[in-house]
Structures are given as structure tokens and as C-alpha cells.
Amino acid sequence: MSTKPVLELYDVKFGYDLSETLIHIDELRIARGESVFLRGPSGSGKSTLLGLIGGVLHPREGHISICGTDITTLSSGKRDEMRADHLGIIFQQLNLLPYLSIIQNVTLPCRFSSTRADRANKKNVSVADTARDLIKDLGLDETFADRKVGNLSIGQQQRVAVARALIGGPDLIIADEPTSALDSDNRDRFIELLDTQRKRFDCSLLFVSHDLSLAKHFDRSVDLTTLNKVKMP
């Protein structure tokens, strides 16, 4: 197994045009298996940073490496491939495509990444069976698997989103304020579940939130307002 960090950012600068700089990060590294809590208030550039790590946005300067591959040197299509192969992303809420069933939502990354489909297919178990196992492991009734996601509670939807992020064992899970719509009991249970499952798959975790009280659940905490040298008004 590679010992390279799953994520490395060096001297990254980004702005939507040359006259502005929204992000300037000297260094950020996440080691394999590490869980990092990234705190930042609204408007601190969290979404922009996630866009850069995901390869949807391209920095003006600097280097971003995913599992040792500098994605800033890649074409847009190759960056999309890197995202599909190595990243699992969980959003704040409304994570799922409402016109797909639970199982179709969970297996969606495997439709875009043969690497993750191959990993999910290990030991002659189909992607769908792997997805059903994940759904069960995350405490959802697997008989729901073929139902549309519309009838699930927000907590259940977030667990489906975790299953989707974990399928095929990506190297890094990015969770962008996934607990903001949950009450405190469900929030703690959700974080514990996410941590347990990502350890099973040996995934690193970058958990983004403005809620400092959640930092205790993670190996390390990083403050984006300190990390980003550009001070937001």
C-alpha cells in the first residue's frame, strides 16, 4: 500500500480572475488513514477549496496532489477521472438524485469510475451486492434499496450518501458540513458511523464544518481562516 499522503497542497493560489485572490494556501497534507477537521466560517472559502481539491476548479499557482499525482498538470477530463477514482464526497444535505433509487444512488460512482467498480466487485461480489452490504452496514433496511430516495428522512439520506462516498473504497472522503441538518444526537451517531466505516475502507477523511464542537472526533483540526492567507472581509 502506498505511504504517500492522499492529499497535498503546496503554495496554492486561486481566484476567478487575475485581479483577485480568494485562496492562498502554503501547505496542507492529509496522510493515508488520517481524519482532518477543517473549520471555517461561511465565506472563508471552504467550497472553493473543495472545488480545487476535487479538480473542478484549477489553481492559478501551486500544486495539488491526490495520491501522489499532481492534478494541476492534468487536463480537465483527467482531473474528473482522478476525482471519480480517488474521492468520495458527502454534501450538507440533498445529496442524492431524487429520480434514482437508493441502490442506484449508491452505485453511481462505480458508473463513472472503473477503478471503484473493480474494487467494489472484489471476490466475485457484484457492485449491487456490495452496495446492499454497505446500506445494511450503515443501519438502513436493505429492503429499501430499490425504493426512491424521496421518502427517506434527512438522516437516512445522509447515510445513503455515506454509502455512496464509500463504495469502491476511495482514498479520501470529503464531507462538506454533512451534519448541519441533523440534531445533536444524530450528529454524533453519524460522525461515529462515518469514522467507523471509513476506517474499514482505509479512507482518509476531510471533514469540513463551522461547528468547532465536532473537532474532538478527528485526528487533527485545521482552521481555514489561518490556513488561507487571504483574509476575507
Binding site: G51, G54, V56, F91, Q93, N95, L97, F112
Partner: protein
């Protein structure tokens, strides 16, 4: 989702918005229905038009325009400018390069249907739709002076049958105040439907035309004319002085042009000879302006339908930014986003176009008896053909091309939105 991911996602996304998608599909279906209906009826009308007369090499009448001659001698529309003398008819018939001639004498009607005075040979020589003969559904050709043969539409619409007695009216207008009510005719034959003006004609012998006008002076009946009995008329020599036109068959087709030139330069009286096919093409060129206008209008309807597809996708783009962000987050490439929206446009257009074709042929199947009987359009196709396939494919392709516009907008937004669903 075994189908290719983009098509599967597009289909499911459309299904989730099925009510608005259905309206767009219906607008495309209506546009295609209208477009193909115009095209189909145009072809049917043209085919019916061109098959009106065949087997006749020349139509000869008094000098006028070729179109006018064809209109009154074949289509029973308009008035002849003049008659030609019976001597001319005999002279033409006697030519060694003429195989046959059939005289036509017009000037009377029956309840709005034109009466054609001719000889029994008319039913042997007149052909339509290539080489099809006029056949009798019932009865036979006229034998007695006061026998008449009816076209199928005349018999059907007026409810006439064999042995029905009818009287004729003088003049070619729809209404006449001068009737030949003392000279009734008996129906001895009813023709099969041909989809040509033959169906709308009443046939009597050329001698009968002369008979019902015996004793007339300056186009009006005299008291003496009314007194002449039918039996007495049967005993008379009723060779007409003039006829309206004649159909001519040449002994050899290659002589047709020379015959036409000879007749057009006929010294004894001014004649007009036309080749039916050429005159029909000229005539179609005149009336096809309407058909072209209809085609243009239906083309615009299709364009409006396609713009509807574009609008329906554009209006949903904003509310679908989250969907795009989710897709990007699970690894969808930029081309997947473009492909998704292009596929949606193509799917809407394809479904709408196929529905339009299905509706069209269902309608044609249901309406074809009416079209045939009412408008003599009997050659509209009853099954989809290659033209329909081309229209469906062309529309799908154009819609896909139009879909590139919202697709590029969505792609641009998906980059600026990044991986955020807080939109």
C-alpha cells in the same frame, strides 16, 4: 441501469419531470404530425392529380391556354372558350397517324355534376393511374339515346342506382333555370371509383347531347323543342355540328409532337393541342403554391416545437444546478453533463417525433376513406416510410444540436458552482 449511463440518467431525469416533458413531447408530436400530414397529403394530392388521365397522347380543343383546356376537358372545371367543328373531328380521326379519337361535348349538368357527351369508346380509351381502365361497378355503357352512365361519386352522393331516371340542366353553372325535363335519362351503368374527375361526371352519348338541344335557337329552347318526343328523337340523324374537345391516341408515341404541331397550326380553324402530362405539370406548378405555403407554415411549426424543447431545458437549468453538482461530485466528466442535456433534448424530440408519426398514420388510417371519397386523395401512404424515418432522425439530430446550448451553460455553471450543492 444497464443502459449507457448518460441515456439512463437522461431518461430517468425526464421521467422525474414527466408532466412538463410530456407537454414538450406533445408539442413536438403535433408539429411532426402537421409537417408530415402536409407532406403526405401533398404527395397524395399530386399523385391523384398526375394520375387523372393517361393513355391519351393529346387533348385537342379550341384555341385557349393549355391549362384551361385541361381544366375543362379533364377536370370539369371552367368553361370552354369555343367549340371545334365536327368536320375537324372527322378530319383528325381520319389521319393515318392517329390511332383513335374520342369526342367530348360539354354544356349541361345534373345537380351540379357536369354532363360529358361522348362515345362508348371513351370507357375503353380513358385510362388513369398509369394503365388502369375505367370499369363498371354495375351495368354497361350507353346503348339507347337516353341511357346515362354515372361516375361513382355522383351515384353515391345522389343516391342513384341502376334504372334511376334523371333529367339534365342546360349550362355549366351550378344553378340552371333551363332544364331538359321532357327528356329524362335512365341510368344503365355506374362506374367504379377512380379517384379522378371521372367519379364526378355524368356520361351520355354525343348524339344525346344533340338530341336534348333539338329545336333550340340561340341557346334557348323553343316551344317546338319541348314538343319533340323521345321516340321521335331516336329516329333522327343526330350528328352534332360541333364538339368541345377530343382525346387523341397516336399510332406511335414518337409522332405525338408532330401531331401536336400539326393541330396547333391547323388551317381550317384555330386549335389547341396539349400533351396531358405536360399540361398537368404546368397546372400543378400553378396550384402547388398553396402546397408550398402550407409546407413552409408546417416547417415553422416544427421550428417552434424545437424551440420549445430548448426552452423547456433552459428553464429547468437553474433548479438543476444541485443535480449537476452531485453528478460532478461522483465523477461525472464535463462531457457527461453536456451529454446528459443533449440526450434529454434528443430523447424529447425523438419521442415526440415518433408519437407524431404514430398519430399521423392512425389519423390517415381512420380518415383515408373520407379523403378518398371527398377529395379523391387515394394514394396517401398508410404505413410509415423512409421519409418519416428521415424526419424523425433529422428532428432528433437538430434537437440534440440545440441541446448543446443549455448543455454548455450547465457545464459553465457546474464549473463555477464547483462541488457545492448550496445553490
Amino acid at each position: 441501469m444497464k443502459t449507457p449511463i448518460i441515456i439512463a440518467l437522461a431518461a430517468r431525469s425526464l421521467w422525474a419531470r414527466r408532466y412538463t416533458a410530456l407537454l414538450t413531447i406533445l408539442s413536438i408530436a403535433t408539429a411532426v404530425l402537421l409537417f408530415l400530414a402536409v407532406e403526405n397529403l401533398r404527395q397524395g394530392a399530386r399523385a391523384s392529380f398526375e394520375r387523372t388521365i393517361s393513355g391519351t397522347d393529346l387533348i385537342v380543343g379550341a384555341r385557349s391556354s393549355p391549362v384551361n383546356l385541361v381544366l375543362y376537358s379533364v377536370f370539369q372545371i371552367g368553361d370552354p372558350t369555343n367549340n371545334i367543328t365536327f368536320e375537324t373531328y372527322e378530319d383528325i380521326s381520319a389521319r393515318p397517324d392517329v390511332a383513335w379519337t374520342v369526342p367530348i361535348s360539354l354544356g349541361d349538368t345534373h345537380r351540379g355534376y357536369r354532363v360529358v357527351g361522348t362515345t362508348p369508346e371513351y370507357f375503353d380509351r380513358y385510362k388513369y393511374a398509369g394503365d388502369r381502365d375505367i370499369t363498371f361497378e354495375n351495368g354497361r355503357s350507353f346503348d339507347d339515346l337516353f341511357d346515362t352512365v354515372l361516375g361513382s361519386q355522383v351515384a353515391r352522393e345522389l343516391g342513384y342506382d341502376m334504372d334511376t331516371t334523371l333529367t339534365l340542366s342546360h349550362g355549366l353553372g351550378g344553378t340552371s333555370f333551363v332544364n331538359h325535363d321532357k327528356k329524362p335519362f335512365s341510368v344503365v351503368g355506374i362506374l367504379e371509383s377512380t379517384g379522378t374527375p371521372v367519379d364526378r361526371s355524368v356520361y351520355i352519348s354525343i348524339a344525346a347531347v344533340e338530341a336534348i338541344h333539338v329545336g333550340w335557337k340561340d341557346g334557348t329552347p323553343t316551344p317546338a323543342s319541348r314538343a319533340v318526343s323521345q321516340d321521335r328523337l331516336r329516329a333522327l340523324d343526330l350528328q352534332p355540328e360541333s364538339i368541345t374537345a377530343l382525346l387523341v391516341g397516336a399510332k406511335s408515341r414518337i409522332q405525338t409532337l408532330r401531331l401536336q404541331r400539326d393541330f396547333n397550326t391547323y388551317a381550317q380553324e384555330p386549335l389547341q393541342a396539349v400533351i396531358p402530362g405536360v399540361a398537368l405539370s404546368q397546372l400543378w406548378g400553378t396550384v402547388s403554391i398553396v402546397e408550398r405555403a402550407l409546407a413552409i407554415v408546417s416547417g415553422f411549426v416544427v421550428a417552434v416545437g424545437l424551440i420549445g424543447v430548448l426552452t423547456s431545458i433552459l428553464t429547468t437549468l437553474n433548479e438543476r444546478r444541485r443535480e449537476m453538482a452531485i453528478l460532478r461530485s461522483v465523477g461525472a466528466r464535463g462531457r457527461t453533463i453536456v451529454g446528459l442535456l443533449v440526450s434529454e433534448a434528443a430523447l424529447i424530440a425523438f419521442t415526440g417525433a415518433v408519437l407524431g408519426v404514430v398519430l399521423l398514420y392512425a389519423l390517415l388510417w381512420a380518415l383515408s376513406p373520407y379523403l378518398e371519397s371527398r377529395f379523391s386523395i387515394s394514394t396517401v401512404s398508410k404505413l410509415p416510410g423512409i421519409t418519416d424515418a428521415y424526419v424523425v432522425l433529422a428532428l432528433t439530430f437538430i434537437a440534440a444540436m440545440l441541446g448543446v446550448i443549455p448543455a454548455l451553460i450547465a457545464l459553465k455553471r457546474s464549473v463555477s458552482d464547483g462541488l457545492s450543492t448550496r445553490i
